[in-house]
């Protein structure tokens, strides 16, 4: 699974992205965020306030119930501030 991080999420995690292989029990966006939090204190801190974490699966906005698969590109980022 290809993970991408943007804006302050990239800063807090110290990387722009990574390849990860979550366990097979991770089948939704919500599961994925829960699992990421177990990877270390940086993940826990970055994902502690879910209200300011947006998720895109294959470049489409996705809610916590949206399915995820190993071949997906999943991006985590704060609410957008362009324009």
């Amino acid at each position: 699974m290809k993970l991408l991080y943007f804006a302050w999420l990239r800063g807090k995690l110290g990387k722009a992205g990574e390849e990860l292989s979550p366990p097979s029990s991770v089948v939704t966006v919500g599961h994925l965020l829960d699992w990421l939090e177990t990877l270390g204190p940086a993940y826990k801190a970055a994902l502690s306030d879910r209200r300011v974490v947006r998720v895109a699966v294959n470049q489409e906005y996705a809610g916590s119930e949206h399915p995820v698969a190993l071949e997906d590109e999943i991006a985590l980022f704060p609410p957008v501030t362009g324009g």
Binding site: F6, G11, Q59, E60, P78, V80, T81, G82, G83
Partner: protein, 150 residues
């Protein structure tokens, strides 16, 4: 049409190109967003626009398609800059053209309101106090919500 670029743009030249050779356009509306020096706390010295390449273009195309579905537009153009910008620099350009002014004016406002809440761009401000990621504003959500169809 959608463009995401580092380079500056010339609003006059863009408007001229948008309407060149057209005889069906009765009005053009445009919005130009600039980097404002005054932020919430300190005067900013620079602003860096980050985006999600790929998703940005998809979402902007989707927003343009939505505007074209709602209003009879003869032409539409969205330009958004990325990279490091200075106060006074242009950030974004939205232009819409139609046979009549109402469609052009309304769709232009719709495009910038929706772009602000849906397109994956993020602003990093630099000031004497350091770097600061701009937080999303509730007023932007409210502005976008006006256009939601029940």
């Amino acid at each position: 049409m959608i463009r995401v670029q580092q380079d500056d743009f010339d609003p006059g030249a863009e408007l001229a190109r948008l309407t060149e050779g057209r005889r069906d356009i009765g009005g053009v509306a445009c919005f130009v967003g600039l980097v404002r020096e005054l932020a919430e706390s300190a005067a900013i010295t620079a602003m860096t626009l980050e985006h999600y390449p790929g998703m940005t273009e998809k979402r902007l195309a989707e927003i343009e398609a939505e505007a074209r579905a709602r209003w009879p537009l003869a032409a539409a153009l969205i330009i958004h800059r990325v990279g490091r910008l200075l106060p006074g620099d242009r950030i974004v350009f939205v232009a819409t053209a139609s046979a009549h002014r109402q469609a052009a004016l309304e769709s232009c406002q719709f495009l910038i309101d929706w772009l602000k809440t849906k397109a994956p761009f993020w602003k990093l401000e630099e000031s004497a106090a350091g770097e600061h990621w701009v937080a999303a504003r509730e007023t932007d959500d409210q502005a976008a919500a006006r256009w939601r169809r029940s």
